[in-house]
Amino acid sequence: MQPTTDPAASAVLAVVFLPFVAAGLVPLVYRLVGERTAYYAAAIALACFGLVASQYGTHGAVSFPWIRSLGVSLSFYVDGLSLLVGFLASGVGVLILTYSGGYMHGEPSQPKYYASLLAFMGSMLGVAFAADLIALFVFWELTSLSSFMLIGHYQRQESSQYAARKSMLITVAGGLFMLIGFLLLHSVLLDVTSGSNAFSIVYMLENPELVQEELRSAGLFLPVLGLIGVGAAAKSAQVPLHIWLPNAMEAPTPVSAFLHSATMVKAGVYLLGRFRPVLVSHEWELLFAILGLTTMTVAAVLAVGATDIKELLAYSTASHLGLIVAGFGFASELGGETGAFHIINHATFKAALFLVAGIVAHEAGTRKIENLGGLKEDLPITAAITAVAALGMAGVPPFNGFYSKELLFEAAWEAAVHAGGGLAYLYPAVAVFGSVFTFLYSIRFLMLFFGEKPTGLHKVHSPPKAMLAPPLLLGVIAGLVSLGGILGTFGIHFAPFDHFVGEVWASTLPPGSDLHGGFSYYFPDHITPAVTMSAVTLVLGAASYPFYGRLHEGVNRVTDVNVLRANWYYNSAVFGLNGVSDTTAERVQNGLLRTYATWALASVAGLTLAGYAATSVTLPAFELSKVAVTVPILLVLLVAIVGAVAVSIAPSHISGVLTLSILGFMVAVFYVLADAPDLALTQLVVETLLLVIFLLVLDKLPAFYGNTDRAKMARDGVLSAAVGATVFVTVLVSTAATPTDGIASFFVEQAVPVGGGGNIVNVILVDFRAFDTLGEISVVAMAALSVLTLVAMRERGETQ
């Protein structure tokens, strides 16, 4: 490794934030230049590309403080992997935005479109360079968000809404899993790093063994691995979370090419590449090799079943992401190499193919595979691009995809051998099986340009230059990479390219790994297991292509079975949720005060009694009490109870109110006996006034006697008894306590000399605790206001 320089802080900061600032300015720019905003946006992307390029050759971290109190910083890390994703995001961005200038001509809501695309680009660049777990998550979620906006671009269409919501549910929820993983990682590191580096990815990359050890000793290695895996799988459309990706094709085609093939979906595999040096292990291999190979195969099979060219490409994308995940999954150095190289190859051929699909859809007016064919006559350049890209996708030698697939086969074989054979041979077997289907759908896509033109298809116009140049450039790059392999066989290497891929590869390896002298690739010149596997793939693929139609049918027959479709589960869950929601709302909030009061009172009683039980409260001895109830008091209280019982069984409203006031007056008498003359007076007048108001109101109400349901009465009786018991215990335990230094004696001592009044209660009310009284009169005033409002707003009620 050559000595490297530190990255320039200002350049890194600019590359991440320039797109956001530019996005904010889009409405203004759009007002000025209209649809040419596309080229403004492309220029921004180009500037970002230049900034990223300026950091080529640097390595290291720059950091800006952000939330010090949480130890979160806005730090960025530049290495091969981050530069790769940075180049992809900005470079593909330039092409896509240019292409949009042609594609989006006359489309609605363009400012929102370009602002979202730029914001997305900024987020993606942020993901690429972030070196702080939280900062990474911030940008991660922002990519999901901009994806939501862009998928829902045609917002009036229900299919767009469905797709946008689906992608949001899956990717944002997946992100939350990842966040939990990050936070667990953080809480483990908090002890080791004394806090300062607990969110730092750089620290983890520098101390991978320590991190793994700490995680394992906390028993959190597997949870963290799994949680981060869920986040990556959701974003990179791994089975069974892949289902949002085909629907995401509701977005305008440039968006599909940019977000849903070249960049955003790479965030997941980027994450794996980023954490690979830290977490790679036996469990890692098991998890991600299986996940990746499964996705690769399942998605390739589904692509064969596709009827729409964008759908085909979407499944293909998921499949290739699976390939990359599987590559990163294999613990050997080869695994990292596979992933690193295939990210590049996939980005070139898949972005090119999406743009081709856009051209086809735009110019031919349909995306149905069965309605397309023989396009090469009208679109010769496009056909040439497709040939290079599709053959690369198929893994046909000597096109670029072939070389990275060779690496996968090698890694799979090696892993199988390393694991001692047996079931592990499923790795190479499944890899070959999946590749056969990859070959099939790739060729099918290519065949759109060959053969007979279907009758329904009219003359297809050539696309505008702005739409043709970007895929052409991508095709040329793919071609150059392919050429590099052939030349490599003769010992001629594109040194800077190889060096760069080597840097990316190195980023995915733990420190001290063997790079076998750096990255280089060439056309195989002798038979190896991998070459054999490639040959088998090609032969099987070519042999079964004639039966493509039947395979297509077969796949669709299988996916018609609900329980085999991940989508079916998603739809059932989401629509089922509405039903559950209705039930919840109706059952829980049933509108009956009785239900509400029952729950609330039962909870009060239960909670309180549980509290007493938990502390094993003992009821006081029979004779011990600070409360002495005299006989007159007892009599008064008994009359009060009689009154209360009479209220409860009162046959009419009037009799109830009258007995209620018996209770009230008994309480007043009780206050007299309890030496509380002020209370007695107050209670007396209040009771009188309440009686008047009661009578006035009752005068207007109908006589209503709720018919009595015995079962309900019994239930209410039980609850009432429980509440009564709670109060009973409360009274008993609180009469037993005998605190000293109670604050009451102070008032008795101070009332006359300092308070200046003999009526201690009144002195408390207007002096010691006048603040309470202030609140009290506020309530009284509001009670009056409330009555006014209730009556005055009556007629106005309808206006709102």
Binding site: A173, N578, V580, D772, S778
Partner: protein, 544 residues
């Protein structure tokens, strides 16, 4: 001894309430006074915050009303916890009031809207500041009484019915609260919260009163606070009341008034009862720590169950609601669960760090929910004002006819979902972090907490994305196409959206404040010293 700033927010609100009450005949003047009062309130709170939390320090100020020394007179206490709650409440209240001035019809404003609104703020402020348990009851009542009337404000069928349920449940709650206060007074001999904290921590020094009943009595009180916070199974009043109240009032109820219940839980259980000298505690299936937090160990599972139930009921209930207000109301139930969940973790936390983290997480979440839900209710009001309905079946395509309003709603929804870098993300992150830290420390139930939080978060995505699709995307019906959103209303919504974004980007300040608040909530001795120590030093004794 001029620490009048402690009582200033309350006085400003009170004077404004009375001034708007007396100027009902003069519509313009009343509204002007009301808005000025609200600005004054904001200023008073800012002053208080600047004194309590100057850069790099946090102070506790106590103020003796009527000049009587603690624990005899009523104390009000301003510490970082109160300051935190007051600060965000003041902002939301101001926004809601400015919104009201052009939302509520002028007749309604004249009848009683402004005095009631300010009395509600008096109640809220009093509750946040008071250091006396009975005084807390009084301010609760002031707050409740005004909220009763504001819920029933439009006085139609649904309003009266919603208010009836709200009133009856809370009247029972008030009686239960009195019962609890009576019991606590009888048991401990005091009403002052600092004195209470001192006594329950060391009953031997105060006549060796029986400490055991304190747990049960505090449980009575807890139910009342849970009722105010709308925590399951006390959430029943929430949906209909939030639907019935005028939009800015719903914004206040969800954004501020609910938080009073949360504040009371934090203050009373962590500050006052946290160190109750309960030694013998038997909890079936749970271990009880012997570090003097046995009482909290009881509330850990209690809060967890309530929070989990709230998250599930609120989240599930919100998904298929047919109107924005209904969705927001159910969402509030779920979100309160998210606020209490970290409190449950804090109650059972094995270390002081996790305890602080848990309380701070609850505070941050409370702040975020206040802003986001306040914004959303105001946005719902603005939609209603512009379109004449807030029912999804009659809506659609709002982004086309009301782009700014829609953007505001979007930001609020994203904040509740927890999309960074909005303030809501940090709330959610801290909840996860608290549960994750507890999980790493091996606390029982913390994995369940993580799971519940995750389920709740996914439900939040589910209901907001559905609402967005139904209300804001799609084919706009005629009503929506003709919609004309009032600039004054949309401006408030957008301003709150900006605030949410700013709070997220500049989260460091919020986090420091929340940490200070959490530490203040757990610094029992500091609280006791500030109230009782200060009183001995000076204020009340030499009276008259």
């Amino acid at each position: 001894m001029s620490q009048q700033f402690v009582v200033a927010p309350l006085l400003v609100a009170l004077v404004t309430a009375i001034a708007t009450l007396l100027t009902r005949r003069f519509g313009r003047a009343q509204v002007t006074l009301s808005l000025l009062g609200s600005l004054g309130y904001l200023g008073a709170v800012a002053l208080l915050v600047s004194k309590v939390d100057p850069l790099g320090a946090s102070n506790v100020f106590s103020y003796q009303l009527s000049g009587w020394q603690a624990p005899f007179g009523i104390t009000i206490v301003a510490d970082s916890l109160s300051a935190f709650m007051l600060a965000f409440s003041a902002v939301i209240a101001t926004a809601a009031l400015v919104f009201s001035a052009s939302y509520v019809d002028s007749f309604g404003q004249r009848v009683s809207y402004h005095p009631l609104f300010h009395f509600m703020m008096v109640g809220v402020t009093g509750s946040f500041l008071t250091g006396d348990i009975f005084n807390l009851f009084v301010w609760f009542e002031v707050m409740l009484m005004s909220s009763y009337v504001l819920v029933v404000f439009y006085s139609g069928p649904e309003h009266t019915q919603a208010a009836l349920q709200y009133v009856v449940l809370n009247l029972v709650g008030s009686a239960v609260m009195l019962l609890a206060i009576g019991g606590l007074y009888s048991t401990t001999g005091t009403l002052n919260m600092a004195d209470l904290a001192r006594r329950v921590a060391d009953p031997a020094a105060f006549g060796d009163f029986a400490i055991a009943p304190v747990l049960g009595l505090s449980a009575l009180l807890f139910a009342v606070f849970a009722l105010k916070a709308g925590l399951a199974p006390f959430q029943f009043w929430v949906p209909s009341a939030y639907r019935a109240a005028p939009a800015p009032v719903s914004a206040m109820l969800a954004g501020v008034v609910k938080k009073v219940g949360i504040y009371a839980i934090v203050r009373v259980y962590f500050t006052v009862f946290g160190a109750a000298a309960i030694s013998e505690l038997s909890l079936p299936g749970l271990s009880v720590p012997d570090d003097g937090s046995a009482l909290l160990a009881f509330y850990g599972p209690v809060m967890f169950v309530m929070a989990a139930a709230s998250i599930v009921v609120g989240g599930l209930g919100a998904v298929s609601r047919d109107d924005i207000d209904g969705l927001l109301a159910y969402s509030s139930i779920g979100q309160v669960g998210f606020i209490v969940l970290p409190l449950a973790i804090a109650a059972t936390a094995p270390t002081e760090e996790i305890r602080v983290l848990g309380v701070a997480a609850a505070l941050v979440y409370a702040l975020n929910h206040g802003f986001a839900k306040g914004l959303l209710f105001l946005a719902s009001g603005a939609v209603y004002d512009a379109v004449g309905t807030e029912r999804f079946p009659d809506l659609g395509g709002l982004t086309e006819s009301a782009p700014w309003l829609s953007a505001g709603f979007f930001v609020g929804a994203l904040a509740l979902i927890g999309i960074p870098p909005l303030s809501g993300f940090f709330g959610k992150m801290l909840v996860f972090d608290a549960a994750g830290s507890a999980s790493a420390a091996g606390v029982a139930g913390s994995n369940a907490a993580l799971g519940i939080a995750l389920v709740g978060a996914i439900l939040t995505i589910a209901y907001f994305s559905r609402a967005w699709n139904r209300g804001f995307w799609g084919e706009p019906p005629l009503l929506v196409r003709n919609a004309d959103a009032k600039v004054s209303l949309v401006a408030v919504v957008v301003a709150l959206a900006l605030a949410i974004a700013l709070l997220g980007v500049g989260f460091d300040v919020v986090m420091q404040a929340a940490n200070a608040g959490a530490e203040a909530a757990l610094d029992r001795q500091g609280y006791i010293d500030a109230v009782l120590g200060a009183a001995e030093g000076g204020s009340g004794g030499g009276h008259a």
